[in-house]
Amino acid sequence: MVRMSETSIPATTSTEVEPVLSVRGLRKVFGTQVAVDDLSFDLLPGRSVAIVGESGSGKTTVARMIVGLEKATAGTIIACGRDRSKPARRGAERKLRGREVQIVFQDPYSSLDPRQSGANLIDEVLRVHHDHDSAARTRIVGELADIVGLDRRQIHAMPRALSGGQRQRVAIARALATAPRVLILDESVAALDVSIQAQVLNVLADIRDERGISYVLISHDLAVVRQLTEDALVMQRGVVVEQGRTVDILDNPQHDYTQMLRASVPGPGWKPQRMRERLKSAQAAAAKP
């Protein structure tokens, strides 16, 4: 099995620019179960990295560790030059971290407080982080609504009155309110239907072009990965099996598991039977020491 976690991201810019997010030897153990093992990557400003893999491969655990919802068993996470491997002790440190890395979750239905409109939510986030007066906050709420493509009525509506796609736009606006350098998208478009998915992806692509924000895209959808990222990691059972440029990985997968993932995308001539055989051989390969 090829272990590529030591391989750094392509060397085009890595010498002169400091990464906004740098993960080294990240490991998470739940009881006796190793959820993530020895994961390392660098994320450069304005670039995006994808973490792909099937359900249960440890992708979401990586995301939760980066934002501090889960404590890493071992390894370091450095965002914007500051170490965040240990839980934040003080409120000021927590807020500071909130301005560095933000996250958009998968489920648009549980990720908004049912009793708070998008405008109120963003207003509250701004009040917690900054000393803006109410006029300034209203202006920023309007700007964020424009960026994510919500009209005045939608941003002031309660979540119950919004569709899944609209809620996810509110969640993106909330994440952007603190102007983070890194945005983690944890299957953020997976729960949306395809046309809405495309709209939200376009919004995300535009935001990146305008703000120079970096994405960590966690997805099992290879089409989404290709559209949004330059670099990618493939995870299987908590271990990175392939790491490199997205284009190379998707067009010329080296590892059996990546080939299997790639072949799992339904297309012309796609047969479940053939998939099963590939899955078996990939699992057999992974089981080998």
Binding site: V67, G68, L69, G91, R94, K95, L96, R97, G98, R99, V101, Q102, I103, F105, Q106, D107, Y109, S110, S111, L112, D113, P114, R115, Q116, E124, V125, V128, H129, R153, Q154, A157, M158, R160, A161, L162, S163, G165, Q166, A171, R174, A175, T178, D193, S195, I196, Q199
Partner: protein, 291 residues
């Protein structure tokens, strides 16, 4: 985009979630509200507008039935029953309200704290709550009366402490569920503190359950307080109280003059039943009002 158009019905319902909850009350719910409002008005204004002095005794009128302006007649000591009912509404209703309020405040605090911090804190407090469960409320009130002397305050406080585990147990589950929602995690990532998250986001989202719990407890508290007063460990005779009136009427009951005990019991039953029906409906409403 047809998919993104706002649903006008959903929006209208959004405008008034509380109104939607009230619509589901039905006839019994509205009658219950009427009874409760009447009881509250009596508790507030009863002692002011009562027709006669509730403690003015004239033994020549003992156990005389409804007579002239004395609409409910006299009790065994010749006191006006209607005036005593109106006077007693205050201690009975407000006493139960006080018990329910204290129990809900203690129970909610414990529930949110255990759900939020989890781990050892949760295990320790939950074990303490299990121990408290073992004590019946009345027993605790009797002990309190023995230690602090019989009074409405000590009995009420003992009941409130005895009830709080029930609130804590029910609300802890709801708070745990809310705690695991992604919006709480998202706000944690924003750097929000525990205090703000609990007070501004978690608490409001379990508030309908809190109200329902409080309403149900109010009914229990009224019955238990009346029982304690009946035993002579709560409100002290001759002060008017519905539980005291049931106790005072029991000699008349044996002599064939059941009116005093009967009207006092009817008042207790009416208010308790109304509160229970309403609590049940609010509880059911709180379940389908969300999402």
């Amino acid at each position: 985009m047809s998919i993104e158009i706002l649903d006008p019905v959903a929006e209208a319902e959004e405008a008034a979630p509380s109104r939607r909850r009230l619509r589901g009350l039905g006839v019994i719910g509205w009658v219950s509200i009427g009874v409760i409002v009447l009881a509250l008005l009596l508790a507030i204004f009863g002692p002011i507008v009562r027709p006669f002095d509730p403690n003015l005794s004239d033994l020549s009128f003992a156990n005389v039935g409804p007579y002239g302006s004395h609409l409910l007649g006299f009790d065994g000591q010749g006191r006006d029953v209607l005036s005593r009912l109106m006077e007693g509404a205050r201690t009975t209703v407000l006493g139960a309200g006080f018990v329910a309020l204290i129990a809900v405040v203690i129970g909610t605090t414990l529930a949110i704290a255990t759900a939020w911090f989890g781990g050892k804190f949760d295990a320790t407090v939950s074990a303490g709550i299990d121990v408290l469960f073992a004590f019946p409320g009345i027993l605790l009130a009797v002990v309190a009366a023995a230690v602090f002397g019989p009074s409405l305050f000590s009995a009420g406080l003992a009941l409130a402490i005895a009830y709080s585990p029930y609130v804590a147990r029910v609300l802890r589950g709801a708070a745990l569920k809310e705690r695991s929602m992604a919006y709480i995690a998202a706000l944690e990532v924003q750097g929000f503190g525990a205090w703000r998250l609990c007070a501004r986001h978690l608490l409001p989202n379990i508030s309908s359950l809190i109200v329902a719990q409080g309403t149900i407890l109010f009914g229990f508290a009224m019955v238990d307080l009346a029982a304690i007063s009946f035993l002579g460990l709560g409100v002290q005779s001759p002060q008017a109280d519905w539980g005291v009136m049931v106790a005072e009427g029991k000699t008349g009951l044996l002599q064939g003059y059941p009116l005093v005990s009967l009207v006092a019991v009817l008042c207790i039953v009416a208010v308790v039943a109304a509160v229970s029906f309403l609590g049940e409906r609010l509880d059911a409403g709180s379940r389908d009002v969300r999402r």
